[in-house]
Subunit: 258 residues, 2 copies
């Protein structure tokens, strides 16, 4: 569990959660445990995705994948442990109210489980070696990565005490950000530098995966990325809050090279 | 997810939860969603335990194991999905108070995660092909199966509104019941009927696993089973509640043939 948690990574999800709390003028310390819980769920999904029965990846964040170091059985259990402990961290968080805990626990399970990440992963596997439509591709990404990314922002909004109107704007922001994130991921698999990304590039093409560039051309994907980044920035601005950090993360996602 | 949930099984854990609510004079309907959530966690653990990288079992509850039917990738995801959905069911249960939800969610994660079932499973795998002491064996069982069985009773106690004194007695009861359950499991692996159990017998011996009979002899294990059943019944009686159903389940565990 610790090996994969400490292996680095961008920590985009915890950053989004804490920056949303900050935008709402609340102390970010209130979100530390929820941010850790979120990174645990994300890390569990990477450990299980990398397994031989799934994507069979040897490298993650520039280091050998969990099962390469500890074997498959322990990697499966490390993932199970992180997933379960993530809920435990939220449930025993001493700084949140009961209302906040239950709201976060339900939203996290919904975003990470069969109605979210796990459902998207199943759709992704079923779509392998098939030509997908843009709608099918979007469905996969909304579930596989989008909903947990949205949760990052919405969790911060709940902890920061956002009004319903603010929550709706943050939700719109996070959905466009999630799509932008995924499009840039697909672009990096073509244009990226293996050293910086920490895993091999070009795997989508060799696995015959449908991606935004394969459906829209590379130029078309870059255009779509720009549209989603601008929409994300638009909804962020509508909140009329101090969005400095959230804007920086949005820029980072648009321009990231890993 | 549905294939393994519907594959049958004894439903001991949901029965314990609902019978504890009944003992406390509360409507068992209040525990239906928690009981389903509990069976989901138990089922996820069976799906992952059966995987080739773990126990590599082909049969479970008399039917082909999940990965035999759907392949390893989907079996891993079905387990992940059930685990996550289990928490979702608790969090959105419309009949529980916020206090009850948070108490159940924390206790469930603690019982099923690294401090409980997952931790016990890791210790079990590390103990394979080694001679264990009785203390080490007991540690494995307390975590691998005992804590989730305890949770079954304690969850019922929380939903049924048990006093602290009653909760303490139910806890003692559940710990002895859990050990009795595991000892009978080990005995059945020697004396059981493969048809009734729904999986091959004799696998502990061929896997060189330390068990209660291997450490205490078969007679010694049966003696220990009797001691734990009597202790369980003793603490149950101390609650001075209507324990008819809980007593029946205890008898069933002592005498079960599958």
């Amino acid at each position: 569990m610790n090996y994969s948690l400490q292996a680095g990574g961008k920590r985009i999800r915890p950053l989004l959660l804490l920056s949303t709390i900050h935008a709402l003028g609340e102390e970010i310390e209130k979100g530390i445990q929820a941010a850790c819980s979120l990174e645990m769920i994300h890390t569990y999904s990477l450990i299980h995705d990398d397994l031989p029965a799934m994507d069979n990846d040897d490298l993650r964040r520039g280091k050998p994948t969990n099962h390469k170091v500890f074997g498959e059985a322990i990697a499966i259990l490390a993932g199970d442990g992180l997933l379960t402990y993530s809920f435990q961290c939220l449930a025993k968080d001493p700084l949140l109210t009961l209302e906040q805990k239950v709201a976060l626990l339900e939203l996290l399970a919904q975003s990470a489980g069969p109605e979210g990440m796990v459902g998207g992963q199943v759709a992704d596997m079923e779509g392998e070696n098939k030509s997908l439509t843009l709608e099918e591709l979007q469905y996969i990404h909304e579930n596989k990565t989008g909903k947990l990314l949205s949760y990052s922002v919405l969790a911060g909004a709940i902890i920061g005490g956002a009004t319903e109107e603010q929550q709706a704007l943050f939700h719109q922001f996070s959905q466009h950000l999630g799509l932008a994130f995924q499009i840039q991921d697909d672009i990096l698999d073509i244009e990226g530098d293996q050293e910086k990304i920490g895993k091999p590039v070009g795997s989508d093409q060799s696995n015959h995966k449908s991606t935004y560039p394969s459906l829209l051309t590379l130029e078309g994907a870059k255009e779509k990325l720009k549209v989603h980044i601008e929409a994300a920035q638009y909804f962020l601005k509508q909140t009329k809050l101090d969005i400095t950090f959230l804007n920086e993360i949005t820029q980072l996602i648009a321009q990231r090279d890993h």
